[in-house]
């Protein structure tokens, strides 16, 4: 009973690995009887390498063929078996499968044969695969299936400590160095050519098991693997297989095995479940921060679902060879508790790896917590008049949305008088905000106002914490960020977009710094960039500059950074289309929300970081009378210099950072500050929309927020560097000395000065709401009088014509608009409509409205009832005029309205003087009902689809963004003085 071994070497490429393999074959203590070489490398060097070993048979085959097919070709070249292969007599034929990268140990074949000789039931035996690069590490030893059919290696990437040497009977062994009884190979018809290479051997062994034979591992036999199964299966030059491609192959194999091994009746069910399962698992990949796996997951499902005849052929092959029931392999599957144990070990390893990798951060307690607590207290006191208000009014504020349903419907592209209007990206931000308090969307804005200071403190602290390691500077940065005029002025003047932008900016810094390493942070940064861009379109150029610079500086992460733009694009594309189609691309710059002109800015104000100096100057002038100047927005030089001196410590700290060790960390923040101030300067005189007869300038507050953030962070770096000055010197001995102490003291003094000065300067703006000096005020969730709001409950399309007398070119004019329901809401604002003035042409609807208004605002013989009906106007409101409008102008309008028989005076209300259109008390006329559709925004065809796509993209980004892994509690970071700069490893945080 003599074993005869046919070694088959399948070579896809030449090189050192192949040579090592061939040399090892030659060194075998038990040499194979026959050597078949299959040359699948289309490369002369490899061919000559192979030819040099004088094989029994030399077969040339196409490089794209699968391993099983190549083995089959090699066997086909051998003469037919001359004697039946039987354990009881004659020659025992064995096949020894080798690849170009599998270098067997000198005694590998000897040990394998020794194992199979004493066990006639064994039809396949595999060696222990060791990593050729690290010969003490097991590359793979044994394969099995879980209860759910997933392939799992019994040992993989483990240090070989003989821990698996007692494992013998296994479900399957890897293909490298596998010794297979040739008769059984023939009986089960070899390797399935349609099976992906990673699981081809597993499938073969399962079929061998089902045919009634055993598969064993022989730990004493060792094979050194250079490439690995999946990589070795790829034709051409050897390139490392990406983790994504490997996952895709494994998934494809698993799905294919599912269709193969399932009972025939279950196959259609499995087939139908392929795609739905793939979608669900893709979402899971997003949640687990592996967006790269999504394509593979879907690709695998498609490949298997449409693999045509491969599955039936494979099922028939399986059926032909099978002699045992499936229960035969059940004991060999991996037990579920073992699977769970392995998973938890893997997770722990991953967490600890990530923890080690995380950059050091200062402790939040007590400094950061103290600043946040103080900010909470300050916010609760300063914005106490707003606490509990149903809505905020004043400035650019209005109720957020009439109800929860409007949160969604307002996001659709709609029809307006001058064309179509895509929803503003800011509407999405507002919708998300309103969804926090769906029972009363406007309350969310009140919450933002009251919580603005602590939120800013938190954001400022985290942004600082990603740059500095000491808690003092981080807390100081948080305090400076809370007291920033670019937050306090919009809070006092009621500009929600600027407030949200200010609150979101530091988090963008935090997320963007981590984005190159973490998918989760990338998604968060993308979302935050979208939020900031939506709130302040004027910041988009600055964000683009930062984005492109980031990609240039980190070309390796460029692909991932590229995806940062996805959420922004999802929000902006419809708006860009609308504005560009209309020919008013400049309109994209318009601040979202209600078009209300921000207070005038001055160059001095910009340099001091104040969007509107009036709040500050008002207090200065009250304290020091006689310094007033005609232009209220520009201070006299002495005041400007004094204010500049108060702002100086922060600038000095920021610039001083550059001169100190680790100064390079201040470069990017300072550049950010420069970009911010240039942006503020560039947009300060631009206006792209018009409200009530006056141009509405672009708000400079967000750009100043950016400048303040950069400067504050640079100052934080400076504080830290000064605070540690003298205690270290890079690469040199510690030099305790007077110089270092002086620097430390000056750092502490400058830091305290900066915080105190900004508190003093911020006081007027901070206390504005409490003093009743702010435009923002608590109000009812309506901009129209209560009686209109009450009627709007029954008729949300109720129209109110709002007239405002304004000064225009030294004369007076009447601004007019029609509001529906209880008045304007933030979420229904459209910049496309606000910037319609850029398009220049008066729409027909505007003419119609003008005609109505002119005949209402002056004595007229026109019967206005048909016009009012056509526009379905039920009320006319004369809004309070500005102080510069002559009283007589307003009185004339009042007289004319009073004299109009179609109008019944209702009285004076907070929002102005109101008239009701007579005859509209009960049911509106049918004509008015019918015509409603022409004037109120109506949905455009396909709007739902566009919205669904937008929301889909955002949802996927959110899935990717939500933190899903459990974070271990960080140990408090002990500040060591010679802290190196945070190291960024190329690996991912969340994989």
């Amino acid at each position: 009973m003599q074993p005869r071994v046919t070694a088959i070497v399948v070579a896809r490429r030449g090189g050192d690995a192949l040579q090592a393999t061939l040399d090892a074959l030659a060194r075998q203590t038990r040499r194979p009887d026959l050597l078949v070489v299959v040359d699948a490398a289309s490369d002369d060097a490899a061919t000559s390498q192979l030819a040099a070993v004088n094989p029994t048979q030399f077969v040339t085959a196409g490089s794209s063929l699968p391993f099983g097919e190549l083995v089959h070709r090699g066997l086909g070249a051998l003469p037919a078996i001359d004697a039946p292969s039987s354990p009881y007599g004659g020659v025992d034929e064995w096949l020894w499968l080798l690849r170009h990268d599998t270098e067997p140990d000198a005694r590998a074949l000897e040990h394998l044969l020794a194992a199979v000789e004493i066990a006639p039931s064994v039809a396949a035996a595999g060696p222990k695969q060791l990593d050729a690069a690290q010969p003490t590490v097991i590359a793979e030893y044994g394969e099995t299936l879980t209860r759910w059919g997933a392939a799992i290696a019994i040992a993989e990437r483990e240090l070989d400590q003989a821990q698996h040497d007692r494992t013998a009977d296994v479900l399957a062994m890897g293909e490298a160095g596998l010794l297979v009884r040739r008769a059984v190979w023939n009986a089960v018809e070899g390797i399935d050519p349609a099976m992906p290479p990673v699981d081809a051997a597993l499938d073969l062994c399962v079929r061998i098991r089902l045919a009634g034979h055993r598969v064993i591992g022989v730990p004493a036999a060792r094979v050194f693997v250079h490439e690995g199964t999946a990589q070795a299966a790829r034709p051409g030059a050897s390139r490392p297989l990406s983790i994504r491609a490997l996952a895709r192959q494994r998934r494809t194999a698993q799905l294919q095995r599912r269709l193969l091994y399932a009972p025939a009746a279950a196959v259609p069910v499995h087939w139908l479940s392929l795609l739905p399962l793939a979608v669900v698992r893709s979402l899971g990949h997003l949640l687990r921060k592996r967006p790269g796996f999504v394509a593979g997951e879907l690709g695998a499902a498609f490949t298997v679902a449409f693999s045509a005849a491969a599955v039936p052929a494979a099922r028939r092959r399986l059926a032909r060879g099978r002699t045992m029931g499936w229960s035969a392999i059940d004991p060999l599957r991996m037990a579920p508790d073992e699977v769970a144990r392995r998973r938890s070990i893997a997770r722990d390893a991953e967490l600890s790896a990530r923890d080690d990798d995380r950059p050091p951060r200062p402790s939040f307690l007590p400094g950061g917590a103290l600043v946040v607590a103080l900010a909470t207290l300050l916010g609760a006191i300063m914005y106490a008049p707003l606490v509990g208000a149903p809505a905020l009014l004043g400035g650019a504020l209005a109720p957020l949305a009439p109800n929860a349903a409007a949160l969604l419907s307002a996001l659709e592209r709609s029809m307006i008088a001058s064309g179509t209007a895509a929803a503003d990206p800011f509407s999405f931000v507002l919708a998300a905000l309103g969804a926090l308090t769906p029972w009363h969307p406007s309350a969310a804005l009140v919450a933002v106002w009251v919580a603005a200071l602590p939120l800013a403190a938190l954001g400022g602290w985290w942004a600082a914490a990603s740059l500095v390691q000491r808690q003092g500077p981080a807390a100081a940065v948080a305090a400076l960020w809370v007291l920033s005029p670019s937050l306090l002025v919009p809070l006092a003047e009621g500009r929600p977009a600027a407030v949200i932008a200010h609150l979101a900016l530091p988090w963008l810094v935090v997320a963007a710094l981590r984005a190159p390493r973490s998918w989760s942070a990338t998604a968060v940064a993308g979302l935050l960039a979208a939020v900031i861009g939506a709130c302040a379109p004027s910041l988009i150029p600055a964000l683009l500059i930062a984005w492109v610079t980031g990609m240039l500086l980190r070309p390796r992460a460029a692909g991932r950074l590229l995806t940062l733009a996805v959420p922004s694009l999802a929000l902006w594309v419809p708006l860009i289309v609308d504005q560009v189609v209309r020919g008013t691309p400049l309109g994209l710059l318009a601040d979202p929300g209600i078009a209300v002109a921000p207070a005038p800015s001055s160059p001095t104000g910009l340099l001091l970081g104040w969007p509107d100096l009036e709040l500050l100057l008002g207090a200065v002038h009250a304290l020091l009378p006689g310094l007033e100047q005609a232009d209220a927005a520009a201070p006299v030089p002495t005041v400007a210099l004094a204010l500049g001196a108060l702002a100086l410590p922060v600038v000095v700290l920021g610039l001083a950072a550059l001169a100190l060790p680790h100064g390079r960390r201040a470069v990017a923040p300072l550049l950010l500050a420069a970009v911010g101030i240039v942006t503020a300067w560039a947009v300060s005189s631009l206006s792209v929309s018009v409200a009530e007869g006056a141009p509405v300038r672009v708000d400079v507050a967000p750009a100043l927020s950016l400048a303040a953030l950069g400067l504050t962070l640079a100052a934080g770096v400076g504080m830290q560097s000064l605070g540690t000055a003298g205690r270290l010197s890079v690469g040199g001995p510690v030099r305790p000395g007077a110089g270092g102490r002086a620097l430390r003291v000056s750092g502490a003094v400058l830091t305290s000065l900066a915080v105190v000065a900004s508190l003093v300067v911020a006081a007027p703006a901070l206390t504005a709401v409490l003093r009743g000096d702010a435009e923002v005020r608590a109000g009812e969730p309506r901009t129209l009088p209560a009686i209109v709001a009450a009627e709007a409950l029954n008729d949300p399309d109720l129209g109110t014509l709002v007239l405002t007398p304004v000064v225009l070119d030294a004369g007076t004019a009447v601004a007019a608009r029609i509001e529906r329901g209880a008045g304007r809401t933030l979420i229904e604002q459209r910049t496309v409509a606000n910037t319609a003035v850029l398009a220049g042409d008066d729409a027909e609807a505007a003419q119609q409205l003008a005609e109505l208004v002119a005949n209402l605002a002056a004595p007229s013989g026109l019967d206005v009832v048909p016009l009012l009906d056509e526009l379905s106007v039920s009320f006319v409101l004369l809004a309070p005029a500005d102080d510069d409008v002559p009283r007589s102008a307003r009185d004339q309008v009042v007289a004319a309205l009073d004299g109009t028989t179609a109008l019944v005076p209702v009285g004076d209300a907070d929002a102005g003087r109101l008239w009701r259109v007579s005859g509209t008390e009960s049911v509106e006329s049918e004509t008015a009902r019918a015509s409603t559709d022409e004037t109120t925004p109506t949905t455009v065809a396909g709007a739902r689809t566009v919205l669904a796509v937008q929301l889909g993209i955002l949802l996927l980004t959110v899935l990717l963004a939500v933190p899903t892994s459990i974070r271990s509690r960080r140990r408090d970071h002990v500040v060591t003085d010679d802290e190196p700069a945070a190291t960024f490893e190329p690996g991912d945080d969340d994989e």
Partner: protein, 466 residues
């Protein structure tokens, strides 16, 4: 440590460069003007449709019925003269006075003419009220200032509020006396329903007040407000007059017609009850918060030297300035004040059948080169030997007034008086702003009316649709 020193030097250089860059950036932001772009604001100018023009004539002479329970009644019906093509006349019949009411003269929007004018005259001779009263019909307004009246013994003053519109009006009154503003219940919230006339006695708010000024503010609809003032001296009726309103206080007021007729006889007759209100006088009020210095210039028609006086008005205090020893003749009175004021001038006449009093209100400016239509009151059958005179005054510069084809030279700051036919339509055009009033006189009768400019041209309304 050479590389450390090098690194240190590099860092310092970097910081210096950054400082220089920061200063340059700051200077740039401060001194380089930022790019400017502003959309052109497109307003739409729409001329409102022409509307019906209406004038309201306040009605006849008011008095009380005789008997135990006296009621307000109309003692004598007015005669009306209206001018304009295509006029439609209507009346308000619902009034607080028996047989009371107001006439509404309407120029419909489709009428060919652009202007209209109307005037009413009433002559009454009852035991309590006698004399001639003439009042031009006025456009309803939201604010009216009535300077005149008194609530002393024997003096009766009615506030007549007529709402000719289709919208109810809510009227708030303010009454000033020589001690300041009067606070009384019932001054506010007087509802004048559409198509009704309310007549309110001034004595209901203040009694024994020699000098009164009434401001009428209406919300909702507009009202035509006039005062009827009648005097009884002892037991004899001493005249009746209708005060027509000024629309707003102004810094210059012109009373073109202030005739002094039989001045000595008036003083002789009027001294019977010790009253001083027969003297020619001017009543002034600065209703604002500041006092006003007023320069009064009395320009005689005869071309004599103008008489200039100055007076200081305390805010909110009515001041009556009497002119004693004023020679008979026609005068024009110009008041130039440092703050907006209201004013009116009173003069009386005496004749064979008794006394008559008249309050002359300041006449509004007639703009240059605008066709002005006026009507003169019917006097035939109203008062014996009556005549009408047109008083013209050009405060700023000489004017040539075209009166029905004949031109009249009006020198600067001179008073020109022209006799015109009674019960006629006058058409005036001037090449410079003038003020014009009419006076009517007969035997023991004196009355006046004003020439009012046409309603302001319908200007385009600028609308900014959003």
């Amino acid at each position: 440590m050479s590389d450390s020193v090098l690194a240190k030097g590099g860092r310092l250089g970097l910081a210096l460069a950054a400082t220089v860059a920061a200063v340059a950036l700051g200077a740039g932001v401060q001194f380089i003007p930022p790019p400017t772009s502003s959309p052109t604001i497109s307003s739409i100018d729409v001329v409102p449709e022409r509307t019906d023009q209406s004038l309201v004539c306040g009605g006849g002479a008011l008095g009380l019925t005789r008997g135990a329970d006296p009621e307000l009644t109309v003692l004598a019906a007015p005669q009306r003269r209206s001018a304009g093509t295509g006029l439609v006349e209507a009346s308000i019949s619902e009034s607080d006075a028996l047989q009371g009411g107001a006439a509404i003269v309407t120029l419909p929007r489709e009428a060919p003419a652009e202007t209209l004018a109307a005037v009413e005259s009433t002559s009454v001779d009852s035991p309590e009220v006698r004399g001639l009263s003439v009042a031009e019909c006025i456009a309803p307004s939201r604010s009216s200032w009535l300077v005149g009246g008194s609530t002393e013994v024997g003096r009766t003053t009615w506030i007549v509020l007529s709402n000719a519109g289709a919208v109810d009006a809510t009227v708030n009154l303010q009454v000033w006396g020589d001690t300041g503003e009067v606070d009384a219940p019932g001054l506010t919230g007087i509802i004048v329903a559409a198509g009704t006339q309310r007549i309110v006695p001034l004595a209901g708010f203040t009694v024994d007040q020699a000098s009164t000024v009434v401001a009428v503010e209406s919300t909702g609809g507009s009202v035509a407000a006039t005062l009827q003032h009648s005097v009884v001296r002892g037991l004899d009726p001493g005249g009746v007059t209708i005060v027509t309103p000024q629309n707003a206080p102004a810094e210059r007021l012109v009373i073109p017609a202030l005739p002094v007729i039989n001045g000595e006889l008036v003083l002789e007759r009027s001294s019977s009850d010790g009253g001083t209100d027969a003297l020619t006088a001017v009543r002034m009020l600065a209703p604002g918060d500041t006092s006003a210095q007023v320069t009064l210039t009395l320009v005689p028609q005869s071309g004599g030297e103008p008489l200039a006086l100055t007076a200081t008005l305390e805010p909110g205090v009515v001041f009556d300035l009497p002119f004693t020893e004023l020679a008979d003749g026609d005068y024009s009175l110009v008041l130039d004040a440092t703050a907006p004021i209201v004013a009116g001038a009173r003069t009386s006449t005496a004749g064979a059948t008794g006394l008559d009093v008249e309050w002359f209100s300041p006449a509004p400016e007639l703009p240059a080169a605008v066709d002005v239509l006026a009507a003169t009151a019917p006097l035939a059958g109203v008062v014996s030997s009556g005549s009408a005179r047109l008083h013209l005054f050009a405060p700023d510069g000489p004017a040539v007034v075209d009166l029905d084809g004949s031109s009249i030279d009006v020198p600067a700051r001179a008073s020109v008086v022209v006799t015109v036919a009674a019960n006629a339509a006058l058409r005036l055009t001037s090449d410079a702003p003038v003020h014009a009033s009419l006076s009517y006189r007969g035997d023991s009768a004196l009355a006046g009316s004003r020439v009012l400019p046409p309603a302001a041209e319908r200007g385009a309304v600028r609308v900014l649709p959003e």
